[in-house]
């Protein structure tokens, strides 16, 4: 059977389950008695096993199965959660992640059997509980369906369904009006992958001829695929049993359907039989450590409601985004036409209307693309725990603002830089436990990750309460590496010195560990973040800690820009990096080390002649004053000399395409209202 089409879903869901497992096991480590957590873990492990089995990933299934056994024992109160056990489970989760990533890359789980982990898991079982049969088969489903198929009466599982009072009333009423009431049990083929979908079709088919008054498992559980290969129900219908049978068997991949007209006198007897039966299954499943059969029953009622969401291919969203972009361009076109004609009031109104619509469509589309940063940061607690053990430092991670949303493209890229900063904080930032005690600080170091939205930006702060950056040490290291001279170091402000950390191949750590300190690090972080249109800044106080502040734009695709003219070419300057625009008489331009500067309200700002940088033709005549756009980047400023201001405009950023070489200062292009292309100047690279 071709399963490739399900692979994507499988990978997504496996990752989700693994994330849940990681989170919950972390909680379990601190609260070993938490029953909700244990149940949650068990559920996730069970689903994972089922999925791996369906997809035919035997090794992955085997490993999950053994892990599930351990949790089954814990859940049944036969084992206690110990630190060793948690370590083994984490190892197991890591191994499962390896399987999933291998499947993602090659559609194959690889050949690693992870026997070691399995024997560790079984070791846990052996030491914690009395007995466990290792020869037991991973799949309990066949064992369970076999006795069921032995005789027809056994198959009629609906006979074991309890009938509540109101259902009883409904049945009596129906029978009084001459309708038939059937009990039916439907068996889905075991090779069927989309059980829930088949079940749904069965329900739909039956509902076309009658009414389902009760089903077991519940409809919600069936929709969530929380059933094995059969489900039972009571149906009230005017049609005959044969019609019912036909309606069910019309659905593809249905193995069998058994039904019988029921009369109420049977019910109480049946109810007792059911109790016994459950006891039986409970017994057998305890023996095997496997209880798929009663799992739906054991579901706590307070199960979280399924997210009302759909998975959408990111490409489709991109398409939608492009179309919105087109709409904005078209709108800009109309605006410019309107500006020329400009006398019809109705026209202006319509344009304003269009502008409102495009803006709100744009916002909605952007919102669809927004993903909470939670999806990136949720793996960090686990990482810090591991680091804490590895570095032998006590530390905790406090995260806040995980619900802050960022554009999908940014989310995909931001994980590594953040991880780098956290590792950095854990390794270099925090002192060793002993040192902390000596300094009179709390023994446990704290790392904070805080995210929040700030206007059109999202700010993520990573801070630690460690030793802080030793400015003198940084300077000394930079001098030693020849990055700066001693004179430069002497005149350097503390802030500038701290910024040296972002220079390539810079590391102050004396020891190189495998966590960080190889010198590839902060410069890469900085590049990546700047590549996303953001910036990063360090604030540090010696002895008190260090904070990295990352600012990221909310969206990448559409920005506000200042349109300028240089000679007869139009360029766009992103508005968020512009401070002001000033007119400067040529006579006020001064020279520092033969570079042009201006003095703006007491600040000396270097001038950058954009026409020279952009290889424009020389100006025909010297004007008496310069139009200077003051661009900023952090604390630094630069004056960009332009010929003409056109105005502010919302622009859509487009890539320049392949093949053509693009200088670093051009970050993309945009299409103007008249269809012309204007290049976007990234002033961050110039300042």
């Amino acid at each position: 059977m071709d399963i490739s089409q399900y692979l994507e879903i499988f990978i997504d869901e496996s990752k989700e389950h693994l994330q849940t497992l990681n989170d919950q096991v972390l909680i379990l480590e601190s609260e070993p008695e938490n029953e909700d957590t244990i149940n949650e873990i068990f559920r996730a492990a069970h689903s994972l096993k089922g999925m791996a089995g369906t997809m035919g990933f035997k090794r992955m299934q085997r490993l999950t199965h053994d892990m599930e056994n351990v949790f089954s024992e814990i859940r049944n109160g036969k084992m206690n959660v110990t630190a060793d056990l948690v370590d083994v489970v984490f190892k197991c989760l890591d191994a499962l992640e390896v399987y999933v990533s291998s499947i993602q890359e090659t559609a194959d789980e690889g050949t690693e059997d992870n026997d070691e982990i399995i024997s560790l898991l079984n070791g846990c079982l052996g030491s914690g509980s009395k007995q466990e049969s290792p020869a037991e088969q991973p799949k309990a489903a066949p064992a369970e369906t076999k006795p069921a198929s032995s005789s027809d009466t056994d198959k009629m599982k609906f006979k074991q369904m309890a009938i509540a009072d109101f259902e009883r009333n409904a049945i009596t009423e129906a029978q009084a009006t001459g309708k038939h009431v059937f009990g039916a049990t439907v068996y889905v083929q075991e090779s069927c992958i989309l059980k829930a979908a088949r079940a749904f079709l069965v329900f739909k088919g039956i509902e076309s001829i009658g009414e389902i008054i009760k089903s077991e498992p519940s409809v919600q559980d069936i929709e969530d695929e929380k059933f094995d290969f059969d489900f039972s129900m009571f149906v009230i219908t005017e049609k005959s049993g044969e019609d019912l049978y036909k309606a069910v068997m019309d659905v593809f991949e249905i193995e069998e359907c058994v039904y019988e007209e029921i009369s109420l006198s049977d019910a109480p007897v049946v109810e007792e039989a059911k109790k016994e039966d459950v006891k039986d299954t409970a017994k057998t499943s305890e023996n095997t450590g496997e209880d798929t059969s009663k799992k739906p029953d054991k579901k706590p009622a307070g199960k979280p409601v399924v997210n009302r969401s759909v998975r959408v291919d990111i490409e489709k969203l991109d398409d939608l985004m492009n179309q919105v972009s087109e709409l904005i361009i078209a709108k800009n076109g109309l605006v410019s036409v309107g500006a020329v004609e400009g006398n019809s009031q109705g026209f202006d109104e319509q344009i304003e209307y269009l502008e409102r619509i495009t803006t709100s469509i744009h916002e909605s589309v952007m919102k669809v693309r927004m993903v909470p940063i939670e999806s990136v940061v949720n793996r960090f607690p686990r990482m810090i725990r591991d680091l804490s053990k590895k570095l032998n430092k006590e530390m905790e991670l406090i995260m806040s603002g995980e619900e802050t949303e960022l554009d999908r493209t940014v989310i995909d890229e931001i994980g590594d830089p953040l991880m780098h900063m956290l590792r950095n904080a854990a390794d270099h930032g925090l002192e060793s436990t002993l040192e902390r005690i000596q300094k009179g600080k709390p023994q446990v170091g704290t790392i904070r990750l805080n995210a929040y939205q700030d206007g059109n930006n999202v700010t993520i702060e990573v801070s630690d309460d460690g030793a802080g950056v030793d400015v003198e040490k940084v300077k000394a290291s930079a001098i030693r590496k020849g990055s700066i001279t001693e004179e430069q170091a002497a005149y350097m402000s503390d802030k500038e010195a701290v910024d040296l950390l972002f220079m390539p191949a810079f590391s102050t750590a004396e020891k190189i560990s495998d966590i960080s300190g190889r010198g590839v690090g902060l410069d890469v972080v900085k590049n990546k973040i700047e590549g996303l249109g953001g910036d990063v800044e360090v604030v540090s106080k010696l002895g008190e800690g260090t904070t990295f502040i990352v600012r990221l734009p909310l969206t990448l695709a559409i920005i506000q820009a200042l349109m300028v003219e240089i000679r007869n070419e139009k360029y766009a300057l992103p508005l968020n990096s512009i401070d002001t625009v000033v007119d400067v008489p040529v006579s006020e331009v001064r020279y520092v080390q033969s570079n042009e500067v201006i003095n703006l309200r007491g600040t000396v700002i270097p001038l950058i002649r954009l026409d020279e940088i952009l290889d424009c033709e020389p100006a025909e005549s010297d004007s008496e004053s310069l139009i200077v756009v003051i661009a900023k980047k952090g604390d630094k400023q630069a004056g960009l000399v332009i010929d003409n201001l056109i105005g502010q405009q919302e622009i859509v950023i487009k890539p320049l395409g392949k093949y053509i070489n693009i200088p670093r200062m051009i970050s993309g292009a945009t299409i103007l209202g008249d269809g012309e292309v204007a290049l976007i100047i990234d002033s961050n690279t110039l300042v």
Partner: protein
Amino acid sequence: MDENAVSVENKQYIVVKLDDEQFGIEIGYVDNIVRMENPTRVPKAQPYFLGVINLRGEIVPVMSLRLKFEMDMKEPTSATRIIIIKTEQNAKLGIVVDEVREVVTLSEEDVEKNAFDSSKEEPSSLTGVGKYGETLISLLNIASLLNDIDSD
């Protein structure tokens, strides 16, 4: 000869002109042909790139085949066209030519592959020379042209 004819593959080429020389571009590469429009200059790009144009909302870099072949620049005329090439990676590239003539079908027999000395060091910018009636058509090797641009 006849036994060859069975395996002969016919290929279609768009015939374009630079001055008096005719070049053929395999039709599979051609996405579109548009009228010459004024490209936006991109500073510090390769010298034979004229800039970028807006092709229905997509930004497409445009190069001059004349400049690439180290011929003199020529003012665009009403016959000047931009051939939009679509590569395997779905990237687009515009090639400015003086004129687009016609589409011809050449069978393998009509193509002289060895017209160029293969001992030449540079990878050939032509795949061969096609004979179409009395005229000769230099068949452009688009793949090597794109490689060439990539390495610049």
